[in-house]
């Protein structure tokens, strides 16, 4: 479902060019569970952002579900993002003035879903994350683990094909981190493709497929039996 061919991403910093991605070829099938590791600055986030259509390659092609994404208009790109991709970040990025349920509802609102359709979807997502008690709390009234669960509920409420998580446990202690990983794995078990960027080899080792990056290149691609 994700096909990258010779993808480059070059940043212009002053009069210097930074090759964040340097010819990445990568294919990820539907429902795969992939971890992405590598030293800091190796291009993991950049790759994830391009897969998530938040960024465009400087060169190369990216096909999502067989469709070339480089020619999409802004509206079409937003549509594709809304329908296919869920994002989870290290710093949660919840909207502080909205309650947990309202945060989860946001993607549905942006997609223009009717309020009657939204309510059951939000309830299911909140329920799946075990947040029933916290649905009407503001982010500042939630713990770190709860916040990340709200963020995951929000990323999955549209039932996207891919969940992209950029160091989802980076801001959590080990126990809550483990909880979050289990939740993500449960989503994978339910059929969602998952790509997790992590610095933690233990977490990275749990995935069926481990990618390692170095200086903008994919240097290792290991598959293991689940």
């Amino acid at each position: 479902m994700i096909e990258l061919a010779q993808v480059h991403r070059v940043f212009q910093v002053g009069d210097q060019e930074v090759h964040a991605l340097d010819g990445v070829d990568l294919t990820i099938a539907a429902g795969e569970y992939v971890s992405l590791m590598g030293p800091s600055g190796s291009g993991k986030s950049t790759l994830l952002n391009i897969i998530g259509l938040l960024d465009r390659p400087t060169a190369g092609t990216y096909r999502l579900n067989g469709r070339d994404t480089t020619t999409l208009s802004d509206d079409e790109q937003a549509r594709a993002r809304s329908e296919n991709i869920g994002f989870v970040f290290q710093f949660f990025h919840l909207v502080p003035r909205l309650t947990a349920a309202e945060n989860v509802e946001l993607p549905l609102v942006l997609a223009g879903r009717a309020p009657v359709d939204r309510r059951p979807m939000v309830e299911t997502a909140i329920d799946q994350m075990g947040l029933n008690e916290r649905a009407h709390h503001r982010p500042d009234q939630l713990s770190g683990g709860e916040r990340q669960r709200v963020a995951i509920a929000r990323a999955t409420v549209m039932r996207p094909g891919v969940l992209l998580a950029d160091e989802p446990t980076g801001n959590l202690d080990t126990t809550t981190g483990k909880e979050v990983v289990q939740i993500i794995e449960a989503l994978h078990t339910a059929g969602m493709a998952v790509i997790v960027v992590t610095h933690d080899p233990q977490i990275g080792g749990r995935a069926e497929r481990s990618l390692t990056m170095m200086d903008g290149r994919l240097v290792e691609d290991v598959r293991r039996r689940a």
Partner: protein
């Protein structure tokens, strides 16, 4: 995105940033209130003056010494020309015009009026019996000036009620002898009318026969001649006739101005209309200022909410939607501000109306509509720049907080 959701989301932001919201609402509200109140004052002045003029009487043609541009307002005197005086004989000549009903020559001056050791400096009108009817005035007591030869002086006087009260108090005044300037007059009547004419308080005047006034002020010339026609249809013809008769009497020179009440009214209407517009314009500037304020604050909001904007994009928002959200905020701010301003403006007008009951206050119908329209337009116009900036943000950088 649904309109209801856009409004709900924007509303949520406005509520959360309460201080900011209140300040912006205030700025817009003050602008709109200023438009409403200032135009309402201008309009009140217009209505007041119009009403005053209408109360002068109907079908009037006022003859003034001096030629003027008759094309425009009929009030601008041509500079550099010393006109021939208007005289009582001119007035008598006008009485012979068939279209004209009544003629009242008027002399105006100021003199001290004395009685029983009390003295008061007031405007003194010299005129004839016709003056009362032409002016639509009425008597409280006694008689007005008796009819008769306007060229013969006579020692009778009519007083306004205030002048009477100041000099006589509760003592009956009719039949008493008073002194006006250096002459003695017998009080024969008291005016009932209240109000002002050409800026003079009608209750604080003395009226004496025109010939007596000419002696008193040692002048042959009249302040003006007021004439009335039988009907409204006669106005044009009467005015032409007046010009012809006076020109004939003044050795072929048309050195007078005949002003119809309509022309005066139209002039004042135009002057005050322009005044109201000017006031509205000044007030509208404050609306533009409010718009710029909204733009500034929205720009700050964009930089404060960068991460949130990036997030919305990650959640599937297109540029267009981000723009809509920020524009909606600016428009809601200016619209609510405008509504608050309308309330304040109407309230302010009402209060001024209570303080100065003579002013017929109330903004012209276009003013509140225009004020709200300008406020909301400025919200849109000045909201576009911040909204575009928000929409153009790179989501990756926005999320990274770079």
């Amino acid at each position: 995105m649904r309109v209801r959701d856009v409004v709900r989301l924007s509303w949520g932001t406005l509520i959360r940033t309460r201080l900011r919201t209140v300040m912006l609402l205030l700025a817009t509200a003050i602008g709109v209130a200023a438009v409403v109140m200032l135009t309402s004052l201008g309009e009140a002045a217009r209505r007041y003056v119009t009403a005053e003029f209408s109360s002068l009487g109907t079908n009037l043609i006022i003859v003034l010494p001096g030629r003027s541009e008759t094309s425009g307002s009929g009030l601008t005197l041509l500079a550099g020309q010393t006109p021939r005086d208007l005289t009582v004989r001119d007035a008598i000549a006008l009485e012979r015009i068939s279209a004209i009903d009544k003629v009242a020559p008027v002399v105006l001056g100021a003199a001290s009026v004395q009685w029983g050791g009390l003295e008061r400096e007031v405007p003194v009108f010299g005129s004839t019996a016709s003056f009362l009817e032409i002016r639509n005035w009425s008597m409280e007591r006694g008689q007005f000036l008796p009819p008769g030869d306007p060229e013969r002086p006579s020692s009778v006087a009519v007083l306004g009620m205030k002048l009477k009260a100041e000099l006589f108090g509760d003592t009956p005044a009719i039949g008493e002898w008073i002194r006006i300037g250096d002459r003695r007059f017998r009080v024969i009547g008291l005016l009932a009318t209240e109000g002002r004419t050409i800026g003079i308080d009608v209750q604080d005047v003395a009226i004496i026969p025109v010939a007596s006034a000419q002696q008193l002020f040692n002048t042959e010339s009249l302040f003006r001649i007021i004439t009335s026609t039988h009907s409204r249809e006669d106005m044009e013809r009467a005015r032409d006739e007046i010009r012809r008769v006076i020109t004939e009497r003044h050795q072929g020179e048309e050195d007078i101005t005949a002003v119809t009440q309509d022309a005066v009214l139209a002039t004042f209407d135009r002057i005050f209309g322009a005044l109201t517009l000017a006031l509205a314009g000044i007030a509208a500037i404050s609306l533009a200022v409010a718009g710029i304020l909204i733009m500034n604050v929205m720009l700050v909001a964009v930089s404060q909410r960068t991460a949130e904007i990036g997030l919305l994009k990650a959640l599937g928002a297109a540029r267009r939607q981000i723009m809509t959200l920020f524009l909606a905020e600016a428009i809601m701010l200016s619209f609510i501000g405008a509504m608050a301003g309308l309330l304040v403006g109407q309230g302010g007008s009402w209060m001024i109306g209570r303080l100065y009951p003579v002013l017929p206050l109330g903004p012209p119908a276009w003013a509140p509509i225009a004020a709200v329209a300008i406020a909301v337009t400025s919200g849109v116009v000045f909201g576009i720049l911040p909204a575009r900036r928000a929409a153009a943000l790179d989501p990756v950088e926005a999320l990274a907080g770079r």
